[in-house]
């Protein structure tokens, strides 16, 4: 259901606490996906300690943030991973974590199945190894499928299969739906962002306007497919997709990175969108008082989209997508359904694309093995 406009206006002015908090637990990752939003690979030596992470969970519970999306990097590479998720669930903070599945063997699957209020999201980027591994690395698809098999054998219940929409994966929508049905899983599709390592690969991987139009129609017919409100820029095509249909950055969502830095959303890990650090005065102080977040909660300016009749539907699109493709905040989304973003990009004589500020990519390519 699309939020009605009065409620949406309230959300744009910010809430007492985020609806949706993403917490990347570590920059360590055993894969090296070419579109990684957090440019992960190497663990940062300054990552939150177990005690700091538990204190943050206590604060999240006190703020009544109902659930946290944990990711990374690969969150299961933290040695205290189970300790942290159990600490959260005991405090009635629901956990949804996002994983490449490489660490979900039979024993891990059974342990995960024993924890209430836990939601797992396994990432693949194609419905076959060839398509998925092009983005995520050789062997990654088979690992993810093994994880799904293990969860099924352990009676975990319903998990999520999460797919980023690239020009290749978007051609496999019906097959993803069948795969999800095979596991009794929910399907979650999200937008490819030019963030993190995606700065270098977005140009090559992002869907065409025509593909996005097909995706919009497909999603409209399937309100049960989850999108994390990813595709609100496509709502300019007509009827709103399900979700809040707004840019939630600093208003209803934000991101905490492994070293405690708070960013406006999971797609803008960059100095320009850093609001503060939880190690200073805690997360609540950053959420409520950061200058960046206060400015994001001010009424927006439609900029170049002022004269477009669809501005109310798409709100000018995604801040991160504009920023990392070298557009101004006042420009249209690079994937504007009417092609205005492509025109804006073409009109830039020199495109200065920002590089990710913290970059934890490995310096040498990784080979994927079972462990």
């Amino acid at each position: 259901m699309g939020a009605e406009s009065s409620l949406r206006n309230r959300f744009e002015r910010g809430l007492a606490a985020p609806i949706c908090l993403t917490w990347e637990l570590t920059y360590a990752c055993n894969l090296a996906c070419t579109h990684c939003l957090s440019s992960s690979g190497r663990r940062d030596p300054n990552e939150l300690t177990t005690e700091e992470a538990k204190a943050l969970i206590d604060e999240i519970a006190a703020m009544q943030i109902f659930y946290v999306n944990m990711g990374g990097g690969e969150p299961m590479m933290r040695r205290d991973f189970f300790e942290l998720i159990e600490h959260a669930v005991e405090r009635h903070v629901g956990v949804k974590f996002s994983t490449n599945g490489t660490r979900i063997d039979g024993a891990a699957a059974r342990r995960l199945s024993s924890i209430d209020y836990l939601d797992i999201q396994i990432s693949i980027d194609g419905v076959d190894a060839a398509t998925s591994d092009r983005v995520r690395g050789v062997g990654s698809y088979d690992s993810a499928r093994r994880a799904m098999d293990n969860l099924k054998s352990a009676d975990f219940g319903q998990f999520k299969i999460s797919v980023v929409m690239t020009k290749d994966s978007i051609e496999q929508l019906d097959e993803f739906e069948r795969l999800a049905a095979h596991y009794g899983a929910e399907l979650r599709l999200t937008r490819l962002r030019p963030s993190g390592r995606g700065v270098d690969t977005w140009q090559e991987l992002h869907p065409t306007l025509e593909q996005n139009r097909r995706l919009y129609k497909w999603l409209l017919a399937r309100p049960n497919v989850l999108t994390g409100d990813s595709f609100f820029h496509l709502s300019a095509l007509g009827e709103s997709l399900s979700g809040l249909n707004l840019c939630g950055a600093g208003r209803v969502v934000c991101l905490i990175d492994p070293v405690g830095e708070v960013y406006a959303c999971p797609f803008v890990i960059h100095d320009e969108f850093r609001a503060g650090n939880v190690r200073a005065a805690g997360f609540r102080d950053v959420w409520q008082n950061s200058e960046l977040f206060r400015s994001l909660r001010e009424p927006g300016n439609a900029g170049a989209c002022t004269s477009c009749g669809s501005y109310d539907a798409c709100r000018g699109g995604c801040m991160a997508a504009k920023f990392f493709t070298g557009l101004e905040m006042s420009d249209p989304d690079p994937e504007c359904v009417f092609g205005h973003g492509e025109e804006a990009l073409a009109a830039k004589r020199v495109t200065l694309r920002p590089t990710p500020s913290p970059n934890h990519s490995r310096r040498i390519p990784v080979a994927i093995s079972a462990r």
């Binding site: 939020a3 409620l7 309230r10 809430l15 659930y67």
Partner: protein, 93 residues
């Protein structure tokens, strides 16, 4: 999502906030999160939040509305409560 079996809301029955649901006050009303279904629901006025919190004090939803809500707004509240019952934010007791 619309359920296939439409369950009518019985306002003459006793109701209460589901104990699997957390409510968080916000300037517009409250956010309700159901830990079982993992669904988030918006309560769009503070008055509605008050009614929901106090439902358990009354012998029926009707009795709660009689006590807490102006006569001319009962229809709106009934619709809202029915919707909250469908999303399992409320449960019978």
């Amino acid at each position: 999502m619309a359920s296939i079996i439409a369950v009518a809301f019985d306002a003459t029955a006793p109701w209460q906030l589901n104990n699997q649901v957390s409510l968080r006050d916000e300037s517009f009303g409250a956010l309700a999160y159901h830990h079982g279904t993992r669904r988030l629901v918006f309560l769009k006025s503070r008055e509605l939040v008050d009614v929901v919190r106090r439902l358990a004090e009354f012998e029926s939803a009707e009795a709660a509305l009689d006590a807490l809500v102006p006569e001319d707004q009962r229809g709106r509240y009934l619709t809202a409560l029915a919707s909250l019952a469908r999303s399992e934010v409320l449960r019978g007791r």
